[in-house]
Symmetry: C3
Subunit: 414 residues, 3 copies
C-alpha cells in the first residue's frame, strides 16, 4: 500500500444522516495521517437527539512533563465516566459511577507517555514506571513476569531473549481509534482502537479493542480481538490487569467468586491462604500475595466475580467466558496508601508467571496464520445493597454449593 | 558556540534571485531552532521556470500512533518519486518510477518514530520493530549483528558492550536538512541531511547525506560523507540496507552482478548456494539465506549490480566504487508476504557479522581525527526490456568472462 | 485525585497586584495540563518597575533533530544569564557573566530530549549520549557508576539490577515549573521545578529544585529538596555534576579548596596525585583522573571551593554546607577540545562509585517515610582579580594552615 500522497483529514465529525447508519468519527488514524490535534467533544443531544440520556465524549491531549502528547478520551454515558488512554494501548485510567470509583492511587501520578518507558530497565521491570491505570492489558507476546525465554531468531535458530514484565502492549500507542454511536435504541456507544505489536522476525499481532456501553447504563463491555497477521503460527498471551484501590478496597472488603481451586503463587502467598478472600486495610510493608484461581462457570462456561466493600453496599463485578479467559489471578497488594494500596483482579489466557513456565503448563495459546482470538469482559458497577445482593447471589449460584479446592503449596514451576 | 539568543526562522523559502546561486531552503535545523511545522511544498515551475520538467518537493509531518512527529519529504523529479524520512536517519521509505517500485511490504506498517525504538530490546534486536524502509543505513559505530564487542571506556580501560543490530544511525533524527536546487541546466535537485552519532567517551561521528537527482531522470544518487569529529582515531562501519519486495521481486527474479567470489554466511545459506542468484516466490517458513560477495569492477574499481524481474523487463541497478564500498551482502528472505517477502542488496564497508568478527578480518575502517570517508551509490530504474538489456550487458562486461569463485563452506568466523 | 474535568490554563501571566505578593507564573504543570506552548517572555520593567536592574525571563521550545520539544528557560538577572532546561531534569545548560562562562564544549551538541536517551545502552552508559550541561544532577536512586546492585523486588525478595550511570534524574522532564519574583527589594527571582522519580515497587522520590538570584547579582543559588513520598525508608543519592571548560579551564587553571584529604579514584588518578590541583591544557588522549575529597568547613560546616584561570583574574566559586553535601569529587578530564575538554567539581551526598560501594562506606543516605533532605549550593562568579582574591582568602582561612592528607593509593573498594 503506497502512501506518497497523504490525505489530510479535518477534525470535524463525519456525520452520517441516515438514521440506521451509526455516527462515526475517526479520532486517531495512521492510515489517514490523523493525530491528536485540538480538543473537541461530541454531545448526545446533537448526535442522538431522541435518546433520553445525554452522553458525551471529550477528546484531549495532555501537556507537561512525561504526559506531554498523551491522548485522552473521556466517555460519559450519562451514568458512567470512563477515561480511555489511546497512547497507552487503549488502557482505562479510571471509571466512576457516582461514588463508586474504579481506580487506585498509584505512586506514579502522571499518565506517562510510552516514549519515556524503557521496558528493559531494572532487569525488565521498567513497566512499573508508568503503571497507574485501573485497567491495562498485559501482552501480547508475553504477559507475565520478566526473565529469559526462548524464541526463534532470523536465522531460524532457537535463541533466548529477556521478556519484559507484562509485555509491551500497554506501552504502544493505538494506531487507529474511532468512535461509533448507534442512532437508534439502545444508542450503543462504541470506542474502538487498534494496537499493533508487529515486527520483522517476531510477532505480527494486531489487537482490536472495543469498549462499549449504552447511555444511562452502569455496565460497560471490553471486547478484544487478537489476530495473528503473520504467515506462521504465533503464540500470544493476554491478561486484563484490573486494579482497585480505595474507597472500594478497604479493611474488610472481600473478593467474591465461584472458585473451583485456588493456589498460592509462592510460599509467602501460601502463608496468607486462610482468609485469602478478605482484604486488610493499608498496611505499611505488606508484601504482595498472589493467588492463581480456577473458577466455576455456568453451562456456557460463563463466570462472574465481584469485589465488594466492607459494608456490602458498593461493588464491582466482572463477567466473562472461561472459554476465552480460563484463568484468574488475584493480586493482593494492600500496602500503605503512599506505596499503592491496591488489588488486581486479572482474568487472562494465562497466569502471570514467566512465559516459559506458562508454556510448560499449557497456558500459552497459539494462533495459526490469520487466526483471531476473541475475549470479552463485562464490568458492572453496583452502587447500593440492593444492587450488590443479586450479583452475589448469581455468583453463589455459579458455585452451586461445590467445594473450593485449597492448594496449600505453591506449584512446582521449574 | 553560545545560543542564548535563539533565532526564529520563518518557514518561508529563502529565495536567491541571482540565477547562478542555487535555490536553498532549510527544512530542519537544530542550529536555527527549526523543526517540523506546517506542511509545505515547492514547485519546479516557480523555482526553475525554464526547466521543461515540473518537479516538486512536499514536506509533511506524520500524525497518529507511533508515527506521530515523523518528518517526511516527498521528492518528485517528474519521473521518480522518492520518499525520504529525516526522522529515521534520512532513510528512504520508497521510490517509484511508473510501475517499478523500490519498496517492500514489511510487517511493520507505520513509519515508527525512533523514540519508540529500544535498540537493546530482544537481546539487541529492537531495530526490527521499526524496519520497513527501502533503504536504511546501518552504522555508524557498528553495522552488523548484535552481540558483545570491546570498547575503551572513560577510564581508558577495555570494557565490553552489547552492540545492537545494525547500529543506531537509522534511528537518529537528522539535525540539519536542506534542499538545494540549481537554477540552470541540469537543474540538479539536492536534498542534504546531517545525522550526528556523537557522545562523550564514545564515537563523535557526523554523517552528511546527500540525495540528488535531475528533473526527468530515472536515476538518483546517494552521496554520503562520514567524518570523525573526535580528536582520536575512530572506527566506523556503513552498510546500505537496500530492500526490494514485490512486484519487482518475484518467483524467477534474479540477482545480476560481476561476482568474483561468493561465500555463504552460514551452513543454511551454504545449502542454497547452487542457484543462489535466482529468487523463489513467497515461501512460508523460508529461513533467510545470506551471501557475502566480492565483486569485479572496472579500471577505476567501479562496479554495478542489478535485480531484475522474471520477465527481464523491469529492473533496478546500483553502481558504486569498490574503493568506497568493497563488500556486498545479498540477503535472501523470500518468506511469506505477511512475514516480509524481501531481498536486500547491501553494499558496505563491511559484511553484517558482528563488529568483532569484521575487525578480525580487517573490514572495519578507522578514521583519523578529523578525517572523512566518502561513499556514493547510484541507483537507476530500468522500466522496459530495452533499458534492462544495456545494464545487463554492462555488468557482463565487468565480469569479463571471469569465473565466480563459489566457496561451499561458510567462513570460520570465531 | 480525580482529573476527569481538566482545567485549561491560558498562557497569560497570573499577576498578583498586592505589592507584597510575589509575581507568579506557572510555566509547566502536569496538574493544570500546561506544557510548552508558544514562546513568551517576562520583563522586569513590567513586573518590578521600581527595580533599577531590568531582568527578564524568556521561555522557548526547541525544534529539530533530537532537541524537538525540549523546553528552555533563559533567565537574565541583568548581570547573569542562566539557561535552564526543564525537560532535562531542570539542569543548567550554561551560565555567563560578561566573559566568564560556566559551560563546556561537549561532543554532544544538541540539547537531547530524554526520549532519545536509553540509559541502559552501552552497558549502562547511555547517559553519555545527552551529557553537555554545565550542571546536571546525578541521582536520585543512584548517582554513580553503572553496575550491579541489589534491591528489594515486588515479592519482597532481594534481587539485582543494573544501575545506569549517574541515575535517571537528569533525563526526567520536570512536571511542575513556576517562576516567582518578589515585588520588593531585593526583588528575588525564583525558578522552581518539580521532578518526580517515582514508580511502583521502587523509589517514590520527589525533587523540588529552586534556582534563585537577585537582579544585578553575580551570584545564584541552587536549593533542592528531595522527599521520600513512599511509606517506607528509601535510599537516595545526589551529585551536582558541575562542568567547566574553556576559557575558564585552561593550561594553568587551578582548583582551590580547603582540602582535608584527597584520595585518587584509581591507580591512574594516583599517578597524577602530585600537582592534582593544577590543570593541563587540552591533551589528546588524556585519560580522566578523578579525586575524592573531604573538605574543611567553618564552625557551621560551611565550605567553599573555587576554580580559577591561569592568570587568577577569572574564577567561579561554589559554597555549601558539609552537613548537606559532605563529599566533593574532582573530575579532571582535560582531553582534546573535540573530545570534551572539561573538569567537573561535584559536591554530593556520595562519591560516584557504584552505589553498592558507596553503601558499604556509609555514603548512601536513607530517608524515612515522608522525610525530606535539603541541599543548597551557592555559585559566585568572580570577574576580575579584586573579586577573585577575597574568595581565595576565604578558602585559605577555611584551611586554616592545616595539612591536606594525601592518600597515595586508591581505596580498596571491593
Amino acid at each position: 500500500m503506497l502512501r506518497l500522497i497523504p490525505v489530510f483529514c479535518a477534525l470535524t465529525a463525519h456525520v452520517a444522516f441516515a438514521s440506521d447508519e451509526p455516527f462515526r468519527k475517526t479520532i486517531i488514524s495512521v492510515e489517514r495521517n490523523l493525530g491528536g490535534g485540538q480538543p473537541w467533544n461530541v454531545r448526545g443531544r446533537e448526535i442522538t437527539p431522541d435518546c433520553p440520556v445525554d452522553w458525551s465524549v471529550f477528546k484531549n491531549t495532555y501537556q507537561g512533563g512525561r504526559q506531554e502528547g498523551v491522548e485522552s478520551i473521556e466517555l460519559n454515558n450519562g451514568k458512567l465516566f470512563i477515561h480511555v488512554i489511546p497512547t497507552r494501548g487503549m488502557g482505562i485510567r479510571q471509571v466512576w459511577c457516582g461514588d463508586v470509583l474504579l481506580r487506585w492511587d498509584s505512586p506514579v501520578k502522571e499518565l506517562v507517555h510510552p516514549r519515556f518507558i524503557n521496558l528493559q530497565s531494572r532487569g525488565g521491570l521498567g513497566w512499573l514506571e508508568g503503571f497507574n491505570e485501573w485497567m491495562c492489558r498485559c501482552g501480547l507476546e508475553n504477559s507475565g513476569q520478566p526473565g529469559t525465554d526462548r524464541f526463534i531468531n532470523n536465522q531460524g535458530d532457537e535463541a533466548t531473549m529477556d521478556l519484559p514484565l507484562h509485555g509491551k502492549i500497554a506501552n504502544i500507542p493505538a494506531s487507529e481509534v474511532e468512535l461509533l454511536v448507534e442512532r437508534k435504541p439502545p444508542w450503543r456507544i462504541r470506542l474502538r482502537g487498534r494496537v499493533d505489536e508487529r515486527m520483522v522476525f517476531g510477532p505480527k499481532l494486531e489487537l482490536w479493542t472495543e469498549l462499549w456501553t449504552e447511555p444511562g447504563s452502569a455496565t460497560f463491555h471490553i471486547e478484544d480481538t487478537v489476530t495473528n497477521r503473520g504467515a506462521q503460527p504465533q503464540e500470544f498471551q493476554m491478561l486484563y490487569h484490573c486494579n482497585f484501590g480505595a474507597p472500594l478496597l478497604e479493611e474488610g472488603a472481600t473478593f467474591v467468586g465461584p472458585v473451583r481451586e485456588v493456589t498460592p503463587f509462592n510460599a509467602h502467598a501460601a502463608s496468607g491462604l486462610d482468609g485469602w478472600t478478605r482484604y486488610a486495610g493499608p498496611t505499611t510493608g505488606y508484601v504482595e500475595q498472589v493467588y492463581a484461581l480456577r473458577l466455576f462457570g455456568d453451562a456456557q462456561d460463563r463466570t462472574r466475580v465481584m469485589l465488594q466493600n466492607a459494608a456490602g453496599d458498593r461493588a464491582v463485578s466482572m463477567a466473562w467466558s472461561l472459554k476465552e479467559l480460563p484463568y484468574l489471578t488475584v493480586w493482593k497488594n494492600t500496602g500503605a496508601v503512599a506505596d499503592g494500596y491496591v488489588t488486581g483482579l486479572e482474568p487472562g489466557t494465562s497466569y502471570p508467571y514467566n512465559r516459559r513456565i506458562e508454556r510448560k503448563f499449557g497456558r500459552v495459546p497459539k494462533l495459526a496464520a490469520g487466526e483471531s482470538y476473541r475475549m470479552a469482559v463485562e464490568v458492572a458497577i453496583h452502587a447500593d445493597r440492593d444492587d450488590v445482593r443479586p450479583a452475589a447471589e448469581a455468583i453463589r449460584s455459579l458455585q452451586g454449593g461445590r467445594e473450593t479446592k485449597l492448594n496449600r503449596e505453591p506449584p512446582e514451576i521449574e
